[in-house]
């Protein structure tokens, strides 16, 4: 589930820039709550991106990524109207996919 991602993608000179904002707690598992109990780790550990149906990026993440992660990357190719789809999976098995069109 999670909350919706914000995805922006634009193409310029044959390079598509994809910017993704994800809403996630990214709890490290190192912190304790007010009562001293460890707050369980809860973070995105896999991110994949497809451009026009083709996998263009695959990342393995860990607890050192900040809360509400922001990811920007560039891919060769792509054209206006192409579909960008981004998926994350977290260590609890939760997952979310959102889409946007290249402008």
């Amino acid at each position: 589930m999670g909350s919706p991602m914000k995805i922006r993608a634009s193409v310029k000179d044959g390079v598509t820039e994809i910017k993704v904002l994800m809403g996630h707690e990214m709890e490290t598992g190192q912190r304790k709550d007010a009562n001293g109990a460890v707050i369980p780790a809860w973070f995105i550990n896999e991110v994949t991106a497809k451009l026009d149906g083709k996998m263009v990026m695959q990342a393995q993440w860990g607890p050192s990524i900040s809360k509400n992660p922001y990811l920007a990357f560039k891919v060769k190719g792509g054209k206006a109207g192409d579909k960008v789809s981004v998926t994350w999976v977290d260590n609890k098995g939760d997952t979310r996919t959102d889409e946007a069109a290249v402008t």
């Binding site: 909350s3 914000k6 910017k19 904002l21 900040s66 809360k67 509400n68 922001y70 920007a72």
Partner: protein, 270 residues
Amino acid sequence: MDRASVGIMAFLAVSAAAVTVAYAQKDAAQDSIEAYREALQDGNPAELYEASGEELWKTPAGPKAASLERCDLGLGPGVVKGAYAQLPRHFADTDRVQDLESRLLTCMQTLQGKDPKPYIEASFTAPPKEEMNALAAYISGQSKDAPIAVTLAHPKEQAMYELGKRMFNYQGGPYDFACATCHGQEGTRIRLQELPYIPSAKGAAAGWSSWPAYRVSAGQMWSMQWRLNDCFRQQRFPEPVYTSDATIALSMYMAATANGATMKTPGIKR
């Protein structure tokens, strides 16, 4: 020149050079802080809170199962666009000068039948305040790029402004601090945070136009009420009551001083 004065001259020359270096370093430090801020600007997580705030605004809730969509933020029932840039203001129905958050509490009470008390008493990280912070992100975002236009036409608005100005300069507490102690001088900084000179139009705008803001270091969306609450803490003053007149007065003072500047909300801070 005797040897001692030559020595003193040499010392003076060295310290002048050292001062120049210190200034250059300060500029370089400032530049890299600016670069950092610019990099952050691009993917402001406040957008995520704007989205959840919009959902809260439009979703029926409370005993009356009503949404907030008929809430009058000053520009008429349901008008969100540009409303934040004209707050605080006097509202005839409550006969009070209200900021965004106190006005939202009024709407939650009248439209949704909710009790404002849990919202007032909850800590800033507890769920009721999370709702307020998200709503503030959404509504302030609908005033992005609008000019700040607060009027002091109503006598109560004028009185609120005067009260805020007095509070800003009111010294007290264990350290004998006023807001003005930290924000009453041009060009100062605590650690890496510039301290805006709030009595000037430019300084007031720097503060007022950039909150609510997402704080990267804490991963939290802060409303203006939260910002002010933390300034009372920095001042070692007793914690103000959420949406109390004291907080609205300070907001009125800052907003009116910032009049004409452009809203950049929601902002992003370290």
